[in-house]
Structure formats: C-alpha cells, structure tokens
Amino acid sequence: MRKILVIARHEFIATVTRKGYIFAVIGMPLFFLAIAAIPMIVETSGDGSSKERGMVAVIDRAGVVDFDLAAKVIERVEAASDSSSSLGPKKGPQLTSYEDLDRALADLQRRRIQACYVIESDYMTTGRVSVYVRDEGLFSRLNPPGERELYALLRASLVKGRVSEPMLQRVLRPVNLASMKVSERGEVQPSESEWDEVTKLIGPFGMFILLTMAIFFSSGYLLQGMAEDKQNRVIEILFSSVTPEQLLAGKIMGLGAAGLLQVAFYALVLLVPSMVLVVTVQVSVGQLLLSLVYFGLGYLLFASLMAGTGILGSTVQESNQLAAVWTISSIVPLFVLGPISESPHSALARGFSYFPLTAPVTMLLRISLTSVPVIDILISVGSLIVGILLAVRGAAKVFRAASLMYGKRPGLSEILRWLREA
C-alpha cells in the first residue's frame, strides 16, 4: 500500500504541475465565460431601436383591427408568458397601424420595424394575412416577430362588443394551467412553476456534468500517463520495483485525484457563483452520495480501460486513437440525452443503465433528474463492479505483456491471447 501511495503522490504532483494541466484548469473556465459573454455582448451592441420594445407594422385592409385594444392585449400576452417563466419579463413588439405598404417596407429595410403584417381585404372569408420580414436566414421566416401579439389582437378585435368582459378575458387567455405531479407511490402534489423546476435541476444536473467531466478528464490523464511511461521506456524500471497491479492502483488514485481537483476548481469558479447569484443549490444528500458512488465506479472502470489501452500504443497519439472506442461508447447516452431526460425510466434509459460502459453517464443523468428505482441501482452497480473487475484484471495482464513491446503495436489476436494467458 505504501508503494501505491508513493506512485499516487508522484503521478498527482507530476500531473498538476504540468503546463497543459494548469492551462486546462484556468483556460477552460475562461473559455466558458467567453462563450457565455458572447450573447451578452451581441445583445448590448445590437440594434437598440428594435430591442427595447420593437415595432411591428399592421396594415389592416379588411378593417377588422381595433388598434385601441393593442396595448391592453400585449399586456395580457406578456402577463401570460411571465407566469411560466421567471427569466424576466419578455417585452413583445408594439403593434402599430400603417396605411401604406411601401412606407412599411422602407421602414423594415431601415430597421425601424421588425415585421409588417398585411391583413388582406378578404380576411374575413379566407383568414389571409401576409407577413413581410427581413431576409436574415431561416429562423427569421419561421418565427416572425409579433405573431403571437397579432393573433391576440385579432381575436380581441373580432369579439369586441359581442361578448362580456370576462368572456373577452377567456378568449385572450383561455387556460390558466395548474399542473399536478403524481409520484410513483401515487402521491399527488402541485408541481412548481417551470422556473422552479429548472432551478431544482441546476444542482443535480451541474453535478452530473461535473462528475461526468471528472471521469473523462481523469481517465484521460491515465491514458496519457500510461502511454508516456511506455514511450519514455520507464515501465520496465517501474516493474523492477512494483507489480503491474500496484502501478495501476497508484496511477488510478493519483490521476483520479488530479481530475477531481480540476473539476472541483471548475465547480468553484463557474458553478458556485452562478448558483449563488441565480438560485440556491438544491442537491439532496442521497443524490449526492449516489452520484459519488457512480462517479467512483465509472472512474474505476474507465481508468482501468484507459490504462490497459494506453499501454498498447507505441506513442501517446497511437494510444489516444485506440482509446476512442471506450470514449465513444461511454458518451453514447449523451447522444440520447433528450429521450432519457424526457422519460428517465424508459427501456432505453434502463438498458443503458445496466450496461457497464454506458451505466455511469446514464445513471448520473437519471439521478440528477428523478429518483431511480432501487432495482435499477442494484443492477447497474452490480454490472459496473463486474465490469471493473474484468477491466482491472485485463489491464494488469495486458500491462505485463504489452509494456515490454516497443515500437510495435500488438494485433487484436495478440491482445486476446494475453487476456487468456498469464
């Protein structure tokens, strides 16, 4: 055990004092901050006239719109959208009556207005409305500004004077939705607003992202470390003092700690301030412990696989190429992040939870979203333990044989023979 600790300490110090590591630790948060800052910069430097409260022209050739209602309608539309989001009130565009299409189009070009709607003269029989927007790519045509406000204004104008005030309210806002959650045990609870739901997820989901990153950073360091030891030809010297198993264990500990430190730093720099500013973190102790279990198991699995793979290549680059097979299979759950997030108990989610290579990422995700059935936890932990045992044994065997092969990459048949032998 003493030698394992000596190796772990050496690997940890050697890694965290590397320029590449320090750059990754400091550079990554800066990169993320820069990415986050871009939309803000664009926002503030954009066309102020149309951002504050944009203008949308409406040419009413059918004579159905009551523009006196416009301000009231927009207020209602905004109130309705505000209740489902706490991201700050969204200011919709102001609807303004225009007489002349040419003038409207000229204003559109000069960016005085965001869009121009023409309610055609046969509107009452056909419902025909034309919209003019600047050609700024696909999305400008898909979602023209002021669409929602115009619909509300038309609805209100059409029924004005024909229905009572309460009826008008319902026409403008037919549903005031109260949603309820039914738990697996059949308990009914009022569900929080979307925003509350989102803030509730930030903690667990942030934890999912960070722990997933930690698994890949740390096992990536292990891959690199192993490949470098082989490239530097120090493996044989190390084996004259320690067993392959001790070397593997020491490296797993030391580089795992380096990866965790990196992620802890990210958490400190990025996540904590944003949580403090936006919302209090809501992570239950159970969620945290369970996530740490999956982090530990996931790291052990991928670290062993990476170590075994790292030793196969003659150079770091070659080992990286070989390890891609593990990386890709482990991130498969991220490709189906949507379906798993929507239904965390689906057959797909469960299937991925039971397969060792995909279990860590899938389970970390599911834990962050919902409470996972005990049976799923038991099966996935069991399969991960089996996977880890196989990977550690395999890595140690491959170590012994492959570490002494220099300048030659073993074939698949050779690797399989090593796994059977020794």
Binding site: R18, N232, L404
Partner: protein
C-alpha cells in the same frame, strides 16, 4: 552465499524457445558476466529474474527465496530498453525511484544527492531530464539504478551509447560496488570489459547454455597451446614448437601438443637465450565468443561443472 539462482528455467514465446533449461548461480559479491549474441535469450533471462515475465518452468531464487516485494527492493535494475521521465526534474525522478525501492523520503533525497555528487551531476539536479545531454542522461539512468542502495545490481547493456570517459566511470562504479560486497550481474557485448570486470561468466546461445564458469578456466580451455615470448633466439632450431608468429613486438610460439610451456622455457635457457618476457598465451574472450557462436547450434561440449 548464492545471490541469484536459476534451476531448469524455461521460457518460450509461441514456437520460439527463448530460454531452455537454464541453471546458474551468481555468488554474493561477484561481478558475473551474462554473455550471448543478440536474441540469445539474455534479456528474457533477466526479465524472468526480475519477475517481469514469468518462466514456463523452473525455479528462480534471490538470496535463497522467491522474489517477494521486499527482495525486489534489494535489486537495482538497469534494463536494456531504458528511459526516464524526460519532463521531470532530475532530483525528483531519482527520489521517486529510491522511494519505490523502499527508502524513506529523507533517505531517498540523501542517496540521490550523494550519487549526483559522486557522478558530477550536482549542478543538473534541478534541470529537467530531457534538457540533459545524452551522456548525462545515461549517468542519471545509472544513478536511478543505484539510488535505492541495492544488494544486487542487474545491468543489461550498461555501456551502450557511452563514450570512453563514461564507460570508464561505469566500470569504476561496478568495481566499487563489488568491492563493497554488492553482487553485479552484467549483460554486455563488450568482451574486453567483461574480461576486466568479471570473475565468472555464463554464455547463452539460442536459449541454451554454451559456456559457464570461471573466466580464466574458460580462456585456458579455449587457448591454443601457445606462449608469448620476447627473446633473442632462433626458434627454427627448437624441436618442441610447431610454428612461431610475430605478434605486437613479441613472438606467439605454438608448441607441439605434448609440450608444456615450462619445457620450452627450459630449452631456451639451455641454449643460452636471453629471455625478456615469457607468458602463456590465452585466447581473447571475443575470439571464444565468436568461435562458440559460429560453432552453431548451441550444443557444444561445454558443460562444465558448477
């Protein structure tokens, strides 16, 4: 006391038998030469001694016991395929290797500094290994082998790539270690150095033992019945000799089969020759090496006792 003992050791890789039924003993405090042409099985033997690869059959013991972690700590190993952490500082690399040999942090640092001082590398201690010249890297490599203060040194081709100055330095270190009671197993192709350093040798060819024993004894066995003479005498008059060939200012005199060197010396004195020097001619180890290898199949009659 026997430091390293191999009994009936065998190792094959697929159909290739790398080491075939090898037995040998390396005694404590001796410098033992392990010889053989490229691919003969030397490195495989060494790796089996170090438990880096496992033998298919046979028994290997260090100081009378199987290789445990504690026993491993008593061996300093310089492999043929060697390298160091090029991005790390010299002193920290050496401390790390010493600690893996069981030294305490203080002892590891002390030992590393002592050896760096001894080999004139003190100024390099805070440099990265990759920044050193090739010669200095080789020295650091040797220090990495010695820094754990091992009882046994296993050196696989320690002179490869060294200039004459560093070759002499490594030879001196080997001699000093042996004088201090340490055991040295030396695998090398440099026959001249084996002759000056080793007392006993083992030669392997195609996985099998072809020579084993005291160097003097082996050299005698492979020598022609000849003497090296510096004397003023007409050799043609001597009935005891087959022929005489000049060699580096002396005369290599081949005696008839039944004639002993002392008989020839007596004849020279009898005829009143002035003898400046007289010594028994031995065959250089290099010639024996080539002879044995050329003899082919690894099946010679060289199966000395021991």
């Amino acid at each position: 006391m026997t430091a390293i003992s191999l009994r009936g050791v065998r190792k094959s890789f697929d159909s290739l038998v790398a080491v075939d039924d090898v037995s040998l003993d390396v005694e404590r405090g001796e410098v033992f030469g392990l010889l053989g042409p490229n691919g003969a099985g030397k490195t495989t033997m060494i790796r089996m001694i170090m438990d880096i690869i496992r033998p298919d059959a046979g028994r290997i013991e260090i100081f009378g016991q199987q290789l445990t972690e504690r026993v491993k700590e008593q061996i300093g190993y310089l492999p043929e395929e060697r390298g160091l952490y090029t991005r790390q500082k010299v002193l920290s690399v050496l401390e790390y290797f010493a600690r893996l040999k069981g030294a305490t942090p203080t002892r590891a640092r002390q030992s590393a500094l002592t050896w760096l001082e001894r080999l004139g590398l003190m100024e390099m201690k805070d440099k990265k290994v990759g920044e050193l010249s090739k010669g200095n890297q080789q020295k650091v490599q040797l220090v990495a082998t010695l820094v754990g203060d091992p009882e046994i040194l296993i050196l696989d081709e320690p002179f490869t790539g060294l200039d004459p100055v560093n070759t002499r330095m490594v030879s001196t270190v080997i001699r000093e270690q042996a004088a201090a009671g340490k055991t040295v197993l030396l695998s090398t192709h440099q026959m001249a150095l084996v002759e000056t350093l080793c007392e006993r040798v083992f030669m392997i060819h195609r996985g099998r033992r072809v020579l084993y024993g005291h160097l003097d004894e082996i050299k005698r066995r492979y020598s022609d019945n000849a003497v090296l003479v510096r004397a003023a005498v007409d050799y043609r008059r001597c009935p005891l000799i087959a022929r005489a060939v000049p060699e580096n200012g002396t005369m290599r005199v081949y005696l008839n089969d039944d004639v002993r060197p002392r008989d020839f010396l007596a004849w020279m004195l009898q005829v009143g020759a002035e003898v400046e020097s007289f010594e028994r001619a031995t065959t250089p180890l290099e010639d024996i090496f080539i002879k044995v290898v050329q003899a082919g199949e690894g099946e010679t009659d060289e199966r000395p006792e021991g």
